[in-house]
């Protein structure tokens, strides 16, 4: 027997409402999708937030210029700069550089450094063994520190890339400290 018009309409309305709920979920699904796609295609200039192993073989046939930048987000009252602005390395060569940071405010502050790589396609070839960006950094007023970064460039780095720029932006996260998962924590002297 056929259902009446109004109960057919109600059934259809419920199904359509489900579609709307699913699409609301899809909006949220875009968040992890975005991260996964960016990470796999390496298209967003984002580097891995986990430590990778050091390597032993070096590709001595070419040299890559690596530039370092530092930016303070929103007039953060910190001194923040790389101790070397440019270096030349071979792909596969384990390299150690340092950044300098000083809290110039009159209170204890916690910051998080967010890396970004230009050109974006080089990001997934930049492998960090150890990085101050793996976790939040807290400094008391007037305190300063050298922040180490251990990295290498993957030997598969495309041949057309000769210069890689690594930029860190320092964000104030005081009062919003998060528990960082263990595997994300790098070792810092």
């Amino acid at each position: 027997m056929q259902l009446s018009r109004s109960s057919r309409s109600k059934r259809l309305a419920i199904k359509l409402l489900l579609v709307a709920v699913l699409m609301f979920g899809f909006g949220y699904a875009l968040v992890p999708l975005y991260d996964v796609i960016c990470e796999n295609l390496g298209i967003n200039g984002k580097t891995d937030s986990t430590a990778s192993l050091a390597v032993a073989t070096v590709d001595t046939t070419r040299k890559i210029t690596v530039q370092f930048l530092a930016t303070n987000n929103e007039n953060l009252p910190w001194k923040f700069h790389p101790n070397q602005t440019t270096i030349e390395i071979h792909p596969g060569q384990n390299t150690r550089v340092t950044y300098y940071a000083k809290n110039e405010s009159n209170k204890t502050m916690t910051v998080q450094a967010i890396p970004s790589v230009t050109p974006g396609l080089a990001a997934k070839y930049l492998k960090k063994t150890e990085c101050f960006c793996f976790r939040q950094q807290t400094l008391a007023s007037g305190e300063e520190m050298e922040m180490p970064l251990l990295f290498h460039l993957d030997r598969d780095l495309p041949k057309n890339i000769h210069t890689v720029t690594l930029s860190y932006t320092l964000f104030d996260v005081t009062g919003k400290q998060q528990e960082v998962p263990e595997e994300r924590v790098g070792k810092i002297e």
Binding site: S6, K10, M23, F24, G27
Partner: protein
Amino acid sequence: MSEVTHHHVQQRGFWPYAKRWMYTTNHKDIGTMYLWLSCIMFFVAGAMALLIRAELFEPGQRLINPDFFNQMTTLHGLIMVFGVVMPAFVGLANWQIPMMIGAPDMALPRLNNWSFWILPFAFLLLISTLFLPGPAPNYGWTFYAPLSTKYGPPSTDFMILSIHMMGISSVLGAINIIATILNMRAPGMTYMKMPVFVWSWLITAFLLLGIMPVLAGAVTMMLTDRHFGTSFFDAAGGGDPLLFQHVFWFFGHPEVYVLILPAFGVISEVLPTFSRKPLFGYSFMVGAIIAIAGLSYIVWVHHMFTTGVPLAAQLFFMYATMIIAVPTGIKIFNWVATMFKGALTFETPMLFAIAFVFLFTLGGFSGLMLAIVPADYQYQDTYFVVAHFHYVLVPGSIFAIMTGVYYWLPKWTGRMYSEALGKWHFWLSVIFLNVTFFPMHFLGLAGMPRRVPDYALQFADFNAIASVGAFVFGFAQLLFLFNIIWTIKKGKPATSQVWEGAHGLEWALPSPAPYHSWVTPPSVALIDKEEETKNPPLQP
């Protein structure tokens, strides 16, 4: 037939009157309320546009401070999109769809009442931000993070909730329209006999169902970023501001087709009537609407060419965007072919419809220019973009709404509007619309950025021209309002067919359309007589 006459016994006094409108589940009442809400919002957001143009009449800070200027651009955009164009088309859908498919009412009348009554409160909430302490939303209608999250004024939360309410209203309205079209058609009204206006709304409703929840998700993420410690769009916490643009434009691009597909429907009804010919290529018109709607989901990154997306993505989204020109071209070809060798007369709705075809095409062409990636690097965020989207929205969506109102007003009220006043309204609108928006193309090509309250001296002349055009255009709309009120009060009685060349079930009803129409469905013979003239069987 007691229910047919029951509304006539409405008691006098304020409360019975208010209750009649608050409790009504009649599709015609609700359609009327949608249209009046849209009309009021049109003048509110229009006044904001005039404030913007007054400030830009000459260089320098003259009338309003930059922060208030930003609030005006934001609210003008949000209200015009969500408060004017969308409710107006839903109003037309409410009035016309049941009459056109031979249904007694919408499928879910009570839901229909609720869908409407959420809206006035949503806009009260949004507009109230102007009168509360602190600035109103001031980051543009696209409310990009972090402008709207980290740096958004407290009133942003009002905007977020108001967008939630608009979203609920749209989704419920869309569900109702789909249910009506799928379940309520009179026997014999097959899919390929449905008027194109009904087709366009069926597809629009599916678009709304797909995108409004995504927008709701985006503003919910904003809300939790602002107050509940999440970091969807905050780089410091591992999020990404660029993600906001992806989520927003995943909604935003199909949204612009929500604003234009019902317009295509209206124009496809009006042109055949005044050309006294069937619509050319009915099935291609339907197919083109479906194709446009499908493609609209995979082009959103063309709003973000300069954000650093990779080359491959730029190429993909450029080609995908340009492919949309094909179904759109089919539609424009068919409209022109409908008029070709027709016995044309130029009543007000026809004038607006012809202006639509011509000016919407212009807006489409500037859209094609913007779709070209290297060119877009030059045009991005300039007045060229402003010119483009005003050309597709004002002589596109808004003109189509006016076309529909002039076309169906005699059916709704049983009275003819004033043709003389209608022609004045049309000519003032069409001339001064171009005076307003055409110079913006030149300003954009010369490099004037969008969303600025002040500009360099070399842009002064075109800005002055645009401002003069805007004021004449704006005040000309009062003629429209006056004409509608005059029609309701004093218009000459209209016949049931109203227009000599009009075909379709709504014209088989008396004018004004009875409060309850098609209580007994139209006969198959009547449907065939009225609808087959629109989609005649192919001649061998």
